[in-house]
Symmetry: C2
Subunit: 369 residues, 2 copies
């Protein structure tokens, strides 16, 4: 068999694969090679001594001011290597330069490192830590919403309208205080929340679902948390109560199917059937998709979305996977409701890593939904 | 001439080019095409209506659940386009798939959009806003350092050791309160600061330079600020005072050369000569580079480092460029000193956008450096 090199050229911020393989934090692109199971970094003068100290690799080579394709070419020629495997996201500029030098470059479909899907106990602990910071931010947000007063359908905190922007900022500052970096935290309400990607803007409204989807990254470990809760200040209409109950039931149905060896598509199907069984249809209305319009979940780790996906596509779940289960319903006239927890797949089922409760109407009247 | 399409497949977080061209915030990869000056987005069902509302493009097409290479192929075939230009960072996975379909794919060297280098008045204003938040964080840090007491060579704030980590966190929380997201803020001291990429760890020390390099991104506009100050708590040795004075003089020499039409390499050379003239050598010692071991500056905008670079390579500066000027000196036995400001290039020189003063010993005794 002809020798093949696996190659990454990236900084550790943009490539979770590089960070996972080396545990080295590096702000500028560095050359990483794996040849016959040996891990090699080719670092610039500026990074060399830090790489020697900090990178979990077998060898660090030092090559002038910036590692480039010429350096790489000399290195590979010496070892008679002509075949290179790169990640799907590998920058085309480098691939093009290598192709011109007659290397056979092949993009490996994600995951580049299949082992990265399986979280070891230390990784699981880091995810749990990020989840705790996420929970703290959600509880804080719910508490803030609870403290507001309703005036003409809007929420006021100490006399000032509480907006998506201000609540998002308060939550993100709080997470930073807990060592987590959160971006694009979703605080959306009313019609906006019918679009699951809308992060929300403007005054928060009474009697309308408020979606809180929070996914910070730990600054020290790099691992993400990801939790969604939907709450309502004031009174939910019977239709909204039904919708919330359906999403909750669908999530339970999904989680109950998760175990090592099961096809993720079956988990997704359980969610879909539960929502349909409760009378909530998915389809197009006036050219816009509505209902349950996204997948059921995704792997969570050094990336917010990583394999395995839980959706229509076949995908076997295995012990050590950490995945979200996050059904939702979205209708233009009602808004959006989503509930998301994170689970650790085991041989017999799964361990739910999220701890905070689920409650739609947050003012705790009896008999409310 | 055969028709060529310019193509980006990226999300707006990872591609400043995509965001610049469309002003559309999108968390998942989307297809962007430019054909004969016309801007086209091919969006998934989930993003379609938001793209129609928010994206500054000529046309938004909607293509099923996820835009993919097949969709793109049909689109390009209809228009008889066989040549595609992509950014340097274009994911190889897509390029490979297009190459298999016999497209001629070419990576355009950065900048993909040469116009992105030139900041219009609105962009300049956004950079200035980010600089103000950066200045606020630096003044806050200096004030915090000033409030510490020295005990056995270490800085204590209200009885607790002040560390790189705790000061970084305080600064980053403060920036988030000002609508800016800061990561990897450098608070480094002592030997660590002799490595310009080391973000710093552990207790801050008296009588040693503390490098504060702060580069947050505005959450609303996406534009960066970038400022460095170096300060000392206690007393600087005569050697450190000389070193600080040399860096300051070198920065002034660099800034005085900046104007539209000048070669950036001449700006860099002015910095290098000033440092050498002051007796501070650059070179290798015991296999480690020391002295002035990085470039003089870089463009600043939607990316923290973008063209034009100010370094050894020839590069004409032009009106509208926003660049940093940041000489530094790094020696293992002395630590690091760096001073960085941001300037806007004009026809007759440049406008310094940074406002905060420079002072090495922060306790303001007379006759100190």
């Amino acid at each position: 068999m002809k020798p093949t090199a696996r190659l990454i050229i990236a900084d550790s911020e943009s490539s979770a694969d590089l960070f996972w393989a080396t545990r080295f934090v590096v702000p500028d692109p560095i050359l990483y090679l794996e040849i016959g199971g040996k891990k090699i970094l080719i670092a610039s003068d500026l990074e060399f001594s830090r790489a020697q100290k900090e990178a979990a690799v077998d060898q660090v080579l030092r090559k002038g001011p910036l590692p480039d394709v010429e350096t790489l070419d000399r290195f590979l020629k010496k070892r008679k290597i002509r075949r290179i495997e790169v990640p799907a996201s590998f920058p085309f500029r480098y691939a093009e330069a290598l192709q011109k030098k007659k290397y056979r470059v092949r993009a490996v479909p994600d995951p580049f490192f299949p082992k990265r899907e399986f979280k070891n106990p230390a990784e699981k602990r880091e995810i749990v830590k990020s989840l705790r910071a996420t929970e703290d931010a959600i509880l804080f947000a719910i508490d803030t919403i609870r403290q507001t007063r309703i005036r003409r359908g809007r929420l006021y905190l100490k006399g000032t309208p509480l907006t998506s922007e201000s609540l998002r900022r308060m939550m993100e500052i709080r997470m930073m205080g807990n060592g987590c970096l959160a971006r694009h935290t979703i605080v959306s309400c009313g019609r906006e929340a019918a679009d699951p990607h809308c992060i929300g803007s403007g005054p928060l409204l009474a009697n309308q679902p408020i979606v809180l989807d929070v996914f910070p990254k730990s600054i020290s470990s790099g691992y993400y948390g990801d939790i969604t809760r939907t709450v309502i200040k004031g009174k939910a209409s019977p239709k909204l109560c039904e919708m919330y109950a359906a999403v909750r039931k669908a999530q339970e149905a999904g989680i109950s199917k998760v175990r090592s060896g099961v096809d993720a598509a079956r988990v997704h199907q359980a969610v879909v059937s539960t929502l349909e069984g409760a009378g909530f249809r998915t389809g197009n209305r006036n050219g816009r998709p509505e209902g349950f319009i996204h997948g059921t979940g995704h792997g969570l780790g050094l990336e917010i979305h990583e394999p395995p996906r839980i959706g229509k596509t076949s995908n076997i779940l295995k012990k050590g996977h950490v995945v979200t289960v996050e059904p939702g319903l979205y209708y233009r006239d009602l808004g959006g409701i989503r509930i998301e927890d994170v689970v650790f797949v085991t041989n017999r089922g799964c361990e739910v890593l999220t701890r905070i409760p689920k409650k739609f109407e947050i003012e705790g009247r009896p008999y409310s939904c």
